[in-house]
Amino acid sequence: MRLFFGGKSEKEVLIKTAELIQLLCSACEIFDEAIKKGDKNLMSEIYVIEKKGDEIRREIASKIYEGAFLPYLRPNIYKMAEMIDSIIDKLEDAALSFSKIKREDLLKIIKNEIEIISELNIKMCHILSKSFTICFLKGGDLRETIILIRVLEKRVDDLKHSILDKIMREDVKFWEGIVLLKFIEQLVEISDLIEDVADIIQLLNLSL
């Protein structure tokens, strides 16, 4: 642990945040498995993880409220935890939308792209975890992990166009289209949010 965080409360906050990132990794892995197996029941595990994520975020908030970290660091430390939790929320939304999709034939058309995005999300979560470790626990240069997150985010963004291009050729009813579009947007937004958290980590690294 870096010298700046010698206090007990600070250590607890960092351990809880690392736990939150691990929860995010698990949620992404379950989501990936559910997508690949086409098992909508597996998504219920993500709802459990989302509740656990909320709990951890609240614990982090109370530790900060008790006085963990110097005042100038507190907003970004909490924002980081809040954003990681919001990614888990987004994954839950995507899981819910996925379970509402009735048109299996449409899913089949975009299956390859969805699987690639899901795999990229897992990779990005693990790189985020690595960034967090470098920033708060081990110390070191964050640049490579941040670049990698940006490169992978761009790949996800490009895939969105590919998915929309394929879907727009199909005959889709209004509500079917809405559900599918929501699912795609939620899935794609996960990588955006991971990139935002990486930016906050980089900002915090600069402030330390």
């Binding site: 699987e115 690595k130 490579e144 990698l148 490169v151 790949r155 490009d158 291009d165």
Partner: protein
């Protein structure tokens, strides 16, 4: 350490393809919509995959003042594509790319193209390997 990475680990599984009889304008439309640089040309009666790149479109069609609506993709595509087995080490793949001065190689599993490795993919893979 880098030799341990295989083509399968590095490849991008996103393969966008186009029919050989499609027009160059169709290819331009797909390339710009999907924000990519090349399209795999599906096998014709000769059962061989091809590739059409932005470079092919510009030099073999547009720069020659040919009508992209009239020219077919198969007339400007490169055939056959350079393919490697998915188990091939990345080091060998890069040697191949350097030797033939090509920006991408395709990865096949038996006779099916299952991925593509561009220089950007190789760069990402090296970075990924470093941060592991």
């Amino acid at each position: 350490m880098r030799a341990k990475m295989s083509a399968e680990e590095v490849m991008n599984k996103r393969i966008e393809s186009i029919k050989p009889d499609a027009s160059v304008l169709d290819a331009i439309e797909r390339i710009t919509t999907l924000r990519i640089r090349s399209l795999v040309v599906e096998p014709d009666e000769d059962d061989v995959y091809g590739v059409v790149t932005v470079r092919d479109i510009v030099f073999k069609c547009l720069a020659k003042r040919l009508d992209p609506k009239q020219v077919k993709v198969k007339d400007i595509s490169t055939k056959p594509i350079v393919c490697v087995e998915k188990s091939m080490p990345l080091e060998h793949v890069l040697n191949l790319m350097e030797k033939f001065n090509i920006a991408r190689v395709f990865v096949k599993d038996r006779n099916k193209v299952v991925g593509v490795i561009s220089l950007m993919d190789a760069m990402t893979a090296f970075l990924m390997h470093r941060v592991k």
